[in-house]
């Protein structure tokens, strides 16, 4: 075996692993004659590493050589590490061979910055273009957009990739400038904006010519590092909420900061990555995307941090006893969604099932409502009347805290498998 390929793969996978924005969802495309691959709409995980995370794409850097010196990154210029690079051919072949064996859904290509952002984008584009045109690869491709890339290159990338992403990394601009001196929010927001424009333009083109090539059909995503600077959860959630205003923004990923450069005094000293906090942020994000919550309802100036002992939906319900109890037999969908213990799927099932007759506790249980939680928030003539008002919010809080209700991010991806 060519030892160097194995060596490169190891180094360039290790330096890519901290980027968590890695799923394969968002496009459905069936195979074309003579081509290899399709995409499935919901992300398929092919394996799970020892850290419990889903392996869906070949997540890799083209090279770990980098001009920039971002404090939070292993690949920063001032780190004395071995630098290697793939040739486009090596990487394309590796992708195809892994794909043929059903190891992966496709490629997630990122890179350190060589020479200039545009030069780097050109190199990355070579790989992606080759995969599509020479290897007839029809599977999923996620390509990172380098901060500072030009509109022309972002546009080209969108013609070949399913999803593009530019990582925001640090939520507040002054912190970003401190930690990543070569970057500012403009260098991130501009390419994000190009992607948005590309998608809007593409929609129009496709209305006129149905055969017009699609532009980044799975939209864009971004990543925010949590805990590397002084931002609070409220800052982060409001930022995400603003990002989701763009219709092209499909996912914001949160990555608990892991100290890779402990020598850098600009960074906080942390012992363990803040996984709890990261998980709560995902839950809050989930509430904004699927439960019709807005950021202000989840956190405000009085409560700038998410409760670590309670999922944010329960925390909201306990802060708002006046919104309960809810009668599941008459309330509308949005109201039912807000009941702790009721998920999106069970809320939909409640709406459908109650057309056939009154739902009682047994019916709710069959549907999958977690009565242990829901009981304090619904009206019901079978239970002795003991809602959050009789029980008091303090009591409800004490019995329900720290029993996770919302699935972890990895599970969210899996659960799409059945709900179509």
């Amino acid at each position: 075996m060519k030892e160097s390929l194995l060596h490169k793969l190891t180094i360039l996978a290790e330096s890519a692993k901290y980027d968590v924005s890695c799923s394969s969802s968002g496009t459905t495309r069936s195979n074309k004659a003579g081509a290899i691959g399709n995409t499935s709409g919901w992300g398929i995980c092919h394996s799970f590493t020892e850290d419990g995370r889903c392996v869906s794409l070949l997540k890799i850097l083209l090279t770990n050589f980098c001009l920039f010196d971002c404090a939070y990154c292993v690949n920063r210029r001032s780190n004395d590490i071995e630098r290697v690079a793939f040739t486009p051919r090596e990487l394309a072949e590796l992708t195809i061979e892994f794909y043929r064996r059903n190891y992966i859904e496709g490629l997630f290509l990122s890179s350190g910055v060589i020479k200039s952002p545009d030069h780097t984008m050109e190199k990355m584009l070579r790989v992606v273009k080759d995969l599509r045109t020479l290897y007839h690869f029809n599977g999923y491709i996620h390509m990172k957009t380098i901060p500072g890339a030009s509109q022309e290159l972002v546009h080209q990338a969108g013609l070949y990739a399913d999803r593009l992403s530019v990582n925001l990394e640090i939520p507040l601009e002054q912190d970003l400038k401190l930690l990543a001196p070569e970057k500012d929010h403009q260098s991130v927001y501009k390419p994000m904006h190009y992607i948005q424009q590309g998608m809007v333009q593409n929609l129009e083109d496709r209305r006129k010519f149905r055969s017009a090539p699609r532009f980044a059909p799975a939209g864009q995503s971004t990543q925010i590092i949590v805990g590397a600077a002084k931002d609070n959860d409220k800052d982060i959630l409001h930022l995400s909420s603003a990002l989701y205003q763009r219709q092209s923004m499909k996912r914001v990923y949160y990555s608990g900061y892991i100290p890779v450069n402990t020598y850098d005094k600009r960074l906080p000293v942390v012992k363990d990555p803040c996984l709890k906090r990261e998980n709560r942020l995902y839950q809050a994000d989930w509430l904004m995307r699927f439960y019709q919550f807005n950021a202000n309802e989840i956190l405000d100036d009085k409560n700038p941090y998410l409760d670590l002992d309670m999922d944010p939906k329960l925390a909201w319900a306990i802060r708002h006893p006046e919104r309960f109890p809810v009668d599941v037999n008459t309330a509308d969908y949005a109201t039912i969604l807000r009941i702790p213990g009721v998920g999106v799927k069970s809320a939909k099932m409640i709406i459908m099932a109650r057309k056939h007759g009154r739902l009682n506790l047994d019916g709710l249980k069959k549907i999958g409502v977690v009565l242990k939680r829901a009981q304090y928030f619904i009206t019901n003539n079978e239970l002795s009347h003991y809602t959050i008002h009789e029980a008091t919010p303090e009591y409800v809080k004490s019995v329900l805290r720290d029993t996770p209700l919302l699935p972890s991010p990895a599970q969210q991806q899996l659960s799409f498998g059945f709900t179509e």
């Binding site: 020892e50 419990g52 007759g357 498998g417």
Partner: protein, 255 residues
């Protein structure tokens, strides 16, 4: 006293049973395969002869009353091969036919819910195939993978593999049930492997593998190790998403 229908235990046969039952206005309390031992207190036995004309008519009637999703659930439940599955489907179909309005969303009905739950289990098993199949390339350029699903889910996953791997020859073989499918670049055919040298302990004989197969497995194993974030080790979560019963088929889980 039990009323019994006998049939050939095929899906078309089951639909023919439905047809017969409505025709003679007599409904079984149990379904048995031809040649099964009859219970002691049997009231009446009817033997249904499978007939595509009957089954097509029943299916057409169901297509009118059920969503595509519910029709899919019937297929999934059938592929579960659970002993109670055929009679569950029979009861479900009766409810569908007898009710003037759609019952498929009446989740408080026991049969509707049982159908949903069993279909979900089979669907999950199908998903696991789609996720955890690992092809190995043979000397003849066939990408081969043994599989061992809990339910007979392989036929349900076929479509996915046909669409995705249209330009390579592949074969999927259910080592539990002793049959599989081979795709020859044109179509899929059902196969059984008579030669016991092909599989050794449920895995493909290494002698049959292409020269570079080990290389790619090694690359994959290395990649898999390299992307693990040591600071976040959470083996419980790994097991939860990727149950240990699949590990023997995954190259990345072999040392």
């Amino acid at each position: 006293m039990m009323s019994i229908f006998y049939y050939d235990k095929t899906f078309d046969g089951l639909l023919s049973v439905v047809f017969d039952a409505y025709k003679i206005k007599y409904f079984p309390q149990a379904l048995l395969g031809e040649g099964d031992v009859e219970p002691m207190f049997m009231e009446r036995g009817h033997t249904t002869v499978t007939d595509p004309n009957k089954s097509d008519r029943v299916w057409a009637a169901l297509c009118k009353k059920l969503s595509k999703q519910a029709l899919n659930h019937i297929h999934h439940v059938w592929q579960s091969e659970r002993p109670e599955a055929d009679y569950l489907i029979f009861r479900y179909i009766r409810k569908v036919i007898d009710s003037p309005h759609s019952i498929e969303t009446d989740f408080t009905d026991e049969d509707v819910m049982s159908m949903l739950q069993l279909a979900k289990k089979v669907s999950k098993d199908t998903m696991h195939l789609i996720e955890f199949v690992r092809f190995q390339k043979t000397k003849e350029n066939i990408f081969f993978s043994p599989v061992a699903p809990d339910y007979n889910a392989l036929p349900l996953a076929l479509h996915h593999f046909i669409d995705r791997f249209a330009d390579q020859q592949w074969a999927l073989y259910d080592i539990r049930r002793g049959y599989g499918f081979y795709y020859n670049l044109q179509r899929v055919e059902e196969i059984t492997l008579p030669d016991e040298n092909t599989l050794i302990n449920g895995n493909i004989n290494p002698m049959l593998l292409a020269e570079d197969e080990q290389k790619f497995q090694k690359l994959w194993r290395n990649y898999f190790k390299a992307i693990t974030i040591v600071e976040r080790i959470n083996k419980r979560q790994q097991r939860q998403h990727m149950p240990a019963r699949f590990w023997h088929l995954l190259p990345e889980m072999q040392n």
